[in-house]
Amino acid sequence: MTAGLIPPPPTSGGSSLAESPEDSEPEIGDTNAVTPAAGNLEDSRAENAIELKEVEGLSQGRIVMRRFLRHRGAMISLGVVIVIILLAFSAEGIDALGIVIKGWWKYRWTDIDNIQNGGQPTLSLWPLNWGNHPFGQDSLGRDVFALVMRGTQQSIMIVVIVGILSTVIGVVIGSVSGFFRGWIDTLLMRFTDAIIIIPLIVLTAVLGRTYGNLGSFVLAIVLGLASWTGLARLVRGEVLALREREFVDAARVAGASSGRIMFLHILPNAVGVVVVNTTLLMSATILTEAAISFLGFGVQQPDVSLGSIINLYQNAFNTRPWLFFSPVIFIILIALAINFIGDGLRDAFDPRQKRALNKAARKSAAAARQKATAR
C-alpha cells in the first residue's frame, strides 16, 4: 500500500504527517499558536472553557450541525444550490423515466421558435425584465433558458446519482477491506489501485462513448461505477484505525456479527470522512461530466446537459457568446457552491476545529465570554 495515503489513527496526537492533505484542512485557531504570549494563554484557556460550556450536553451530531450552520459560506452556498435546483426543476418540469410534468416556463427545451432580434438575450437586470428569451436563442431558435434549465436538471441528477452510487460502493469496499484485512484487503485494494491508475477522464469517456446514447440516467450510473475509488481508500484507512478501538472489542464481546460491527459501530464514526468526500466528489463530478460532454462522449442529443450545451455551441463563441456563457455560469455556480458546502462540512467534522469560524460566531463567542466573566 502507499505509505503516504493511510490516514494515521486519531490517537497520533494531531501529527498528521501521513495524512493526505485533502482530508486535513486544519483551520486551527489562531488562539495562541502564532504568538504564544502569556496573556493570550489565559485568554485561550478561558475561551476553551467557554467552548466546552457551549457544547455541553450536545451530541456529536448536534455539535457538527451547529458548526455547519454557523459556516456562512456553506450556508450561502446551500441556499444557492437549493435555489438553482428549484429553478431548474420547476421551470422545465420533469421528464425522466417516463414521468412527464410540465414546468412554468413557456418554452420547452425542444421547442423551436422564430428567432427574434438575432437571438440576443432579453434579460436585463435594471430594470429587472425577463423578456421572451432571457438567455437568448440558438441558431435553430431554441430557447437557451429552457436548454440551460434542462441541462442543469440533467447535470444535477447525474451528480446526485454518482454521489449515492459511489458512496455506497466506496463505503462497502472500503469497510470490508479495512475490517477483514488479509487477502480480502489485498484483493480489493489491488482492484481499487487498478481502477485508480486509469485516469478518470479516460474511464468515463470510454464508458460514456459506449453508454452515453442510452440517456443521462444510464450515463450517471456508469459514472458512479467509475468514481468510487478515492472514497474506498479513505474509508479503508478510517476503518483500519477504528477497528482497533475498544468499542469494537466491546461489541465483539457482546456477540455482534461482523456486518453489524462494520456498519452499525464503525461506520457511524467514519461518517465525517464519507460525507465530506462525497460532497467534494460531487463537485468534481459536475466538472467531469461537463468535460466528457464537452468532448462529445457524454449526454447525447436530443437530451442535453450543461457540458453538452457547451459542446454544441463551442464554435459559436465569437458570434453568439451567450450560448456559451449561460451554461458555464451555471456549472461554475453549482461546482463552487458544492465546494463551499464541502469545506463547511469538513470544518464542522474536524475534531481539531476548536474555534468558531466566521465573524458572527466570533461575536457570539465574545458575547458568551462577557457573560461568563460578568457572572
Binding site: A3, I197, P199, L287, G307, V328
Partner: protein
C-alpha cells in the same frame, strides 16, 4: 528497502495487467471499428473489411484479443516489441513517440510554475491567516477549483490572446488600466506583507506608485512592441533578486551572504556584454544549459571566496542569485528578437492560439532565439490555463500543511529559543510543510503524461490528449491507440506512485516502509 521495492514491483505489474485488461475490454466495447467501412460506397468494400479484420484480429473476441495485444508487448523480450497498429494502419509506437514529446513540452512548464506559485500563495496566505488576503486567496482558489478547464482555455484564447494581439496592433493603454492594476498590486502587497495599519498603508502606497510607474513606462515607450531590459534594468533587478534571496535564506544581517549577492549581481553586467558579443546567434540549447551550469558555478565560487564562518551558505546564495541573473540576461536576449519574430514569423500577431508551433518555421529561421520565442508564444496560453487550475489545489494544500506545521510543538520550541521569524518560518516550518506535498506532486506528475485532454483539444495541440480523443472519436474506437495511451499513462502513474513512497521515506524518517 530492496525487498520493499521488489514487492511493490510485483504488485505494480499485477495492477497494471488488471487495469489494462479492463481498459481493453471497455474500449473494445465502446463501438464498432468497422462502422466507417460498412457505410462506405467503395467497390472493394468487402475486401477492405476483411483486410481490417485480419489486421486488427477482429475475429477474435475482445476478452481474448487482449492476450494477442499483450503478446506484442511481451515479445519485447525477444526484440519484437509492438503495441499493434491503429485503425489507419499506423504503428502505435511511432504515434506515441511524437505525442509524448508534445505533451511533455506542453505540461512541464505549467507543472513547475503551478507548484512554485501555488506554494508561494499557500504559504503567504497561511502566514496571514484570517486576513483579508487569506480570505480572498481562499475564495479565488475555490473559484479556480470550480472552473471547467475548457472555459478557462476558451476565455484565455478570446480575451487574452486575441486582445493582446489587438493591443500590439494599436498599442494604447486604456485609462482604467492605469488605475486598476496599481490598486490591485497595492492591495496584494499590502495583504502579503501585512503589519500595522500605518505600515500597511505605506506598503500600499509604495506598491501602487511603483506599479503605476512601470505601466506608465510601458505605455510611453511601447514596450511590448519592442521589449528590452538593458544593462541598467538588469542590474537593478539582479540586485533586487539578490536582496530577496538573502532576506529569505540567510537574513540580511549575514554580511558575507549579502556581499556575495551584490557581487554576483554586479558581475552580471560584464557577463551581459560578453553574452551579447555577436548577439549570441550561434547558441543552441545544450550550450545554453552548459552556460547556465557555469553561471551557477561562478556564483558559488564568488560566495565561497567571500568566506565567513559558513561559506557554503554564501555559496548557495551566490548560486541562486547567479542563476536568476543569468535568467534575466537570457530573457533580455529573447526580448531583442521579439520584434523580428513578431513581424517576420507571426505577422504581427505573436500570441498564438492554435497549435504547438508555427508550421514550416525551419524554412524561415534556424535561430535558437526565434525558435525559442515561437515555442514560448505557443506555450503561453495553454500553460496559463493549465496553471491556473492546478495552482488552486497546490495553494490549498500548502496552506493547510503550513498551518499544521506552525501549530506543532517544535515550532513553539524554536520560538522559545528566541529564533527570529525568518528562521522559524523558512528553516523550520516551510521545509517540513513541503513533505506531504511530495505525494501530491508525484501523483500529478503521473497524470502529466496523460496530457490535458481538454486543453489540448481547445488549443489544437497534437499530444497525448489529442491521440486519445481521436482514438475514441467518431471513426470507431481505435483500441490499440487507446491502449497505447493507457500504457504510457499507467506506467507513469505507478512509477510516480512508487517514487512518492520512496521520497516520503527519505524525507520523513518517522515513516518506515513495511517489509
Amino acid at each position: 528497502m530492496l525487498t520493499f521495492l521488489a514487492r511493490r514491483l510485483v504488485a505494480t505489474v499485477i495492477v497494471l495487467l488488471v487495469a489494462s485488461y479492463i481498459v481493453y475490454v471497455l474500449a473494445a466495447d465502446a463501438g464498432d471499428p468497422l462502422a466507417a467501412l460498412r457505410t462506405s460506397t467503395s467497390r472493394n468494400k468487402a475486401e477492405l473489411i476483411n483486410l481490417r479484420i485480419a489486421q486488427l484480429d477482429l475475429n477474435v473476441p475482445a476478452p481474448l484479443r487482449y492476450f494477442i495485444w499483450l503478446g506484442g508487448i511481451l515479445s519485447g523480450f525477444v526484440g519484437h516489441f509492438t503495441l499493434g497498429k491503429s485503425v489507419a494502419g499506423q504503428d502505435i509506437t511511432d504515434m506515441l513517440g511524437s505525442a509524448v514529446g508534445v505533451t511533455l513540452q506542453l505540461l512541464t512548464a505549467s507543472f513547475i510554475l503551478a507548484i512554485i506559485i501555488g506554494i508561494l500563495i499557500g504559504i503567504t496566505s497561511a502566514l496571514r491567516q484570517y486576513s483579508g488576503y487569506d480570505y480572498t486567496v481562499t475564495f479565488l482558489s475555490f473559484l479556480f477549483f470550480s472552473l471547467p478547464s475548457f472555459f478557462v482555455a476558451v476565455i484565455l484564447k478570446a480575451y487574452v490572446g486575441i486582445a493582446f494581439n489587438n493591443y500590439l496592433d494599436n498599442p494604447k493603454i486604456a485609462w482604467w488600466i492605469y488605475i486598476l492594476i496599481p490598486l490591485i498590486s497595492g492591495l496584494i502587497w499590502m495583504g502579503i506583507l501585512g503589519g500595522t495599519a500605518r505600515r500597511r498603508l505605506m506598503i500600499f502606497g509604495i506598491a501602487a506608485i511603483a506599479t503605476f510607474a512601470v505601466i506608465l513606462y510601458i505605455g510611453l515607450t511601447d514596450w511590448f512592441d519592442n521589449p528590452a531590459l538593458g544593462p541598467v534594468v538588469i542590474l537593478i533587478l539582479a540586485i533586487g533578486f539578490g536582496l530577496l534571496v538573502v532576506a529569505l535564506t540567510t537574513g540580511l544581517q549575514n554580511r558575507k551572504s549579502l556581499y556575495t549577492a551584490l557581487t554576483v549581481a554586479v558581475v552580471g553586467i560584464p557577463a551581459y556584454y560578453a553574452f551579447n558579443i555577436n548577439r549570441a546567434e550561434e547558441i543552441n540549447g545544450w550550450l545554453l544549459l552548459l552556460l547556465g551550469l557555469v553561471t551557477i558555478g561562478v556564483g558559488m565560487l564568488i560566495g565561497w571566496l567571500w568566506g565567513g564562518y559558513d561559506r557554503w551558505q554564501s555559496a548557495r546564495t551566490g548560486a541562486i542569485t547567479a542563476f536568476l541573473t543569468g535568467g534575466l540576461i537570457v530573457a533580455d536576449r529573447f526580448m531583442s528578437s521579439w520584434s523580428v519574430y513578431s513581424d517576420a514569423v507571426a505577422n504581427g500577431r505573436p500570441i498564438a492560439t492554435v497549435g504547438s508551433g508555427t508550421p514550416d518555421l525551419s524554412s524561415i529561421s534556424h535561430s535558437f532565439w526565434i525558435t525559442g520565442l515561437d515555442s514560448i508564444t505557443h506555450l503561453l496560453l495553454p500553460t496559463i490555463s493549465l496553471m491556473l487550475i492546478s495552482l488552486a489545489g497546490y495553494s490549498r494544500y500548502s496552506r493547510a500543511n503550513l498551518l499544521d506545521v506552525m501549530n506543532s510543538d517544535y515550532i513553539r520550541t524554536a520560538r522559545a529559543k528566541g529564533l527570529n521569524e525568518r528562521t522559524v518560518v523558512m528553516r523550520h516550518a516551510f521545509r517540513n510543510s513541503l513533505i506531504p506535498l511530495t505525494t501530491i506532486v508525484a501523483f500529478d506528475f503521473g497524470a502529466l503524461l496523460g496530457g490535458a485532454i481538454i486543453t489540448e483539444t481547445v488549443f489544437a495541440w497534437s499530444g497525448m490528449g489529442q491521440l486519445f480523443n481521436i482514438a475514441l472519436g467518431p471513426t470507431g474506437p481505435d483500441v490499440n491507440a487507446i491502449m497505447g495511451f493507457f500504457v504510457v499513462t499507467g506506467i507513469a502513474a505507478v512509477v510516480a506512485n512508487v517514487l512518492a513512497d520512496v521520497a516520503y521515506t527519505a524525507l520523513d524518517p518517522r515513516i518506515r516502509v513495511s517489509v
